[in-house]
Symmetry: C2
Subunit: 241 residues, 2 copies
């Protein structure tokens, strides 16, 4: 069984395939090549008509699936052992993603964009700047994340993680679903993996001291559950924020 | 088995007890009497240190439980047949409540407050106005919901319901959890019940024409699942928004 995976930094697809025990091949795509590559293989655009990664191509069925949630759902339908989205939780899981996003990512979006630009390759920088300025309605990159905004957004990121820590505390187990591992934990850890690649060393270290070491432990636990080894510091990652 | 239930308009507790097939007695409390009544029976305050309803008192165990989510969880632990919060979904369900609230209730809060005041008894009006002004940081009731704001908030309420309709469409079943009835559906319907009590007749009718009649159907289905008959138009309700 062979998978071709066009993976974004958030690595959701790789965790999902690893959890299912499905061998796969990863094909990296530069950010400015995504739309052309996705069109050339016949992948569908996702939300808002944009072409995004990850996308999987399943040689067993010929299916080509875009969007990490849709990928998890497709894998559950096609390979039902070890469900990623337990029966009945499809909508609750999508809502979890929305809430995680509005609690953690939205309040720190400009900080994360600034750090992401810092690791872009030269030939993707211009594309990144142009598209992200349009996304947040600014005209100059210097207005995106000046130092005072960075400080506020860094505090907001840690504050958001505090909310997510509260969810784990309430869950009565290691995972968001208590003793049931699910796609929800993969979502959280995908962002940790990405932060490992983009954040400054001292920022990264600070995250791993928060909430009694929850985030390092969670990253290890999810890697162990998925038979993966993703998120080592400084790993080469193409980001898509 | 006998329950004493101090129920708020949102009726969550009554649906939960009905679903479990647990006989109960309902004790209504006027809004301005809630704090004193709850203290007198030894109930705990809920979020933000406020005393709220519903509260249940279980004569089988002596337990006194505040907050509708905590009540559902308590009932599942004590009477495990027919779970309200299926195994593993505790946190996802709380997140569902948060998201429902921010999608539907927050954008229409002032409209809902204005309509709620209209049905308050005389001896609760002053208390309601004072506490709600403090809640939203206004000093005069005339600034809470002038006609132009009402129009915007009414559109926002319908728009929010459109989002929730999308969740039901995606769920691949009658319920938020597909073919599994859960507390999530009770949350949605509690608000419908309450709107039946507070909204103007033409507003109420408009809601029941939306989304191909989803909301009337859902109210009927949940009542049928819970062996209840809640939410008839004009039912006497004390609201707690």
């Amino acid at each position: 069984m062979l998978y071709y995976l066009m993976a974004c930094s958030v690595e959701c697809g790789r965790f999902c395939l690893g959890y299912k025990g499905l061998p796969h091949e990863v094909i990296w795509v530069e950010m400015h090549d995504i739309a052309a590559t996705m069109k050339s293989i016949g992948a569908s655009p996702t939300g808002g008509g944009r072409y995004t990664v990850p996308v999987i191509k399943d040689p067993n069925t010929g299916a080509l699936v875009s969007d990490s949630h849709a990928i998890a759902k497709y894998l559950d339908e096609t390979y039902p052992d070890k469900p990623l989205i337990p029966r009945g939780t499809h909508v609750l899981m999508q809502n979890f993603e929305s809430l995680f996003s509005s609690v953690v990512l939205k309040p720190s979006l400009r900080l994360l964009m600034a750090r992401t630009l810092e690791i872009q390759k030269d030939n993707s920088r211009e594309f990144f700047i142009k598209t992200r300025l349009r996304m947040i309605g600014e005209t100059s990159w210097s207005d995106v994340a000046p130092e005072d905004k960075i400080q506020v957004q860094w505090a907001a990121l840690k504050n958001g993680l505090g909310v997510v820590d509260g969810w784990y505390q309430k869950s009565e187990g290691r995972w968001i679903m208590g003793d049931i591992f699910s796609f929800a934990d993969i979502i959280v850890v995908c962002w940790l993996v990405w932060w490992n690649a983009i954040l400054k060393e001292e920022e990264r270290q600070e995250i791993y001291t928060l909430h009694e070491g929850r985030w390092g432990r969670l990253l290890r636990d999810v890697n162990s559950e998925c038979n993966t080894d993703l998120g080592s510091v400084g790993e080469r990652i193409q980001s898509l924020l």
